[in-house]
């Protein structure tokens, strides 16, 4: 029997009372009229909840990402309301889909155009490892050309998995030391990719 079509004729009132997520206060010292914490924690908190993602969607995983951005899964709930389509303004590049070898220099250039601090999320088997395309034309994982922070497995990953990946990025952003991007370690990492 076909499933009856239901129309949303009795919309429920949104229950926003006591239902708004508020970021937790960072640890610190407080007393009457003052609160002291480290700058790093505040910056981390602010960055974490206002990530601007740059979608770099090339194939089927990109479709899954569209669902993630849509109202049902709604990535915006996590402070990533605005997709940026210019790398210069974005903090997080989400690479979703098969990256052909010919696409690799372009991906790399987009990454180079992003300002520090920047994060990279590889969504799906293809972006992470080449996936089923073990072939002459496909890049075997974007980590051959740019450093990746979080990998989301799946072919394609469900939107929940993509959300989970974004939450893990948030965790990294939250806990990142303000000095990390100036450290020798980080410079060595970039140098290993030939990035000055």
């Amino acid at each position: 029997m076909p499933r009856p079509v239901r129309f949303n004729v009795h919309p429920r009132e949104a229950d926003i009372h006591n239902n708004i997520a508020i970021a937790e206060m960072p640890a610190g010292l407080q007393g009457e009229g003052y609160f002291a914490t480290s700058l790093e924690r505040v910056v981390g908190l602010a960055r974490k909840n206002s990530i601007w993602p740059l979608p770099f969607a090339t194939s089927c995983c990109g479709i899954e990402f569209m669902a993630t951005m849509g109202s049902h899964y709604d990535l915006s709930r996590f402070g990533s309301e605005r997709m940026g389509f210019t790398p210069r303004q974005c903090d997080l590049i989400m690479v979703m889909g098969t990256i052909a070898k010919k696409m690799a220099p372009i991906l790399r250039q987009v990454y180079l155009q992003m300002a520090e601090p920047r994060w990279v999320l590889a969504v799906g088997a293809c972006a992470s490892s080449g996936g089923i395309f073990d072939t002459y034309s496909v890049l075997q994982g974007i980590d051959q050309v740019i450093p990746v922070d979080v990998y989301v497995p799946g072919c394609p990953p469900r939107p929940e998995a993509i959300l989970d990946g974004v939450l893990r990025i948030q965790e990294l952003v939250h806990n990142e030391s303000l000095r990390r991007r100036h450290s020798e370690h980080y410079k060595a990492l970039l140098n290993s990719y030939g990035i000055e």
Binding site: K101, K102, D134, T135, Y136, S137, V138, Q140
Partner: protein, 172 residues
């Protein structure tokens, strides 16, 4: 008069005699073969003839037959008569050591990119092509990936367990 396969065949045989051979009609598509020196002459005839009018090049590609010495590479032309809506296909064979075939670009402008693609994947050298360089693969590629001696898998990977991917190890 209706343009039938038999009629096309008859016209070709009248004109080229033994230089057209191997006529077949798989799924009703007239198919034949001609020596590679002859490819432009056949195309020009099919193009210019007032009845045949094969003036549209649908497809141009190649096939690699490693176990046919001297005729390893087949270049396949699909032509279409848009007036009578009739298609035909013909092939020329060439040795892989010297894969030179005359370009069809002077007759069909659409052959330009298709010949570049065929060069890119099979290494067929189209003599007289205005811009014969890779079109789909990366420029640094130094082989022709659709030739049968090259395995499909990317050979540069080191992080995959070969046994799991049917490379090197034994499946049974």
């Amino acid at each position: 008069m209706e343009l039938t396969n038999d009629y096309i065949r008859q016209r070709l045989e009248e004109k080229f005699g033994v230089d057209v051979s191997g006529f077949e009609q798989p799924y009703g598509l007239l198919t034949f073969e001609t020596p590679k020196e002859n490819n432009l002459k056949v195309m020009q005839f099919l193009f210019d003839d007032a009845e045949l009018r094969f003036q549209f090049l649908t497809d141009l590609t190649a096939v690699h037959y490693p176990d046919q010495p001297g005729r390893e590479l087949a270049v396949v032309y699909h032509l279409h008569n848009l007036v009578d809506n009739v298609r035909i296909r013909f092939k020329v064979f060439t040795a892989i050591e010297q894969p030179d075939v005359f370009t069809a670009t002077s007759l069909y402008a659409s052959a330009n990119w298709m010949e570049r693609e065929t060069y890119d994947f099979f290494g067929v050298n189209f003599v007289g092509h205005p811009n014969l360089k890779r079109i789909l693969n990366v420029d640094e590629m130094d082989y022709f990936p659709m030739r049968k001696e090259f395995p499909l898998e990317d050979q540069t990977r080191i992080d995959k367990d070969d046994e799991m991917f049917g490379r090197g190890g034994h499946i049974f």
